[in-house]
Subunit: 131 residues, 2 copies
């Protein structure tokens, strides 16, 4: 038995304003947490799905970072306005929201390597949420 | 691809000293986090396994609470001294540390229902870490 059907972790890590990595707290992560909590109650998912704050999820440049387990689906650039779509499509419908997903290239970049397009050529364009 | 082979979340929620639920922070959760970070580096697991602080994991009476994903294995009453065993047996060996695991009865209790033994009879004895 699993305690929760799904468990959502939202990075709320905070760094100083001069830190070049940025941080999820400065991008409104607390509001994303609050939005998840509100939407889970609204959809009757409280007790089945849990949303928790988390420390640094190591995707600072792509915050607000969110990971959903046990699926291990990662999202980046999440805003409070995105949350109803994640709840409806992913948590209720079982289909991750592709436009917000972080992929292997994002993770390589987070790890310090170059971000490449699918053909391994020019760097991929920046994502909307990756300011 | 999954960003991390395993992702460990340690509850570091803090409540006031008079709160009857207790909290993981008062039971030394920060030291558990630190111990995981040290042991992951020591075992060469940094980058493959990540340990993060988390908000309230809803097992307050059984803290320090820890959950390991994507396995969805829950532990309660975790101390810094337990961490090397979790790393060796579970993260490296693939076998959860049964003596620390929270089970279905623990979750029912956390949810407000009565805690029952396997036969559904008398309440199960308290766990060592569930002070």
């Amino acid at each position: 038995m699993s305690r929760f059907e799904r468990h959502i972790f939202i990075c709320t890590n905070q760094r100083g304003p001069d830190d070049p990595r940025g941080c999820c707290a400065s991008k409104g992560s607390e509001k994303v947490v609050e939005s998840f909590k509100v939407e889970l109650v609204r959809r009757g998912l409280k007790g089945r799905v849990r949303a928790n704050k988390a420390g640094c999820l190591d995707n600072c440049a792509r915050g607000v970072s969110v990971v959903v387990y046990p699926d291990a689906v990662w999202y980046g650039g999440v805003t409070p306005e995105d949350v109803p779509e994640i709840v409806d499509k992913h948590l209720l419908g079982g289909q991750p929201v592709e436009r917000l997903r972080l992929d292997e290239a994002d993770f390589r970049e987070a790890g310090g390597g170059p971000k490449r397009g699918p053909a391994g050529g020019a760097p991929a364009p920046a994502r909307g949420g990756a300011a």
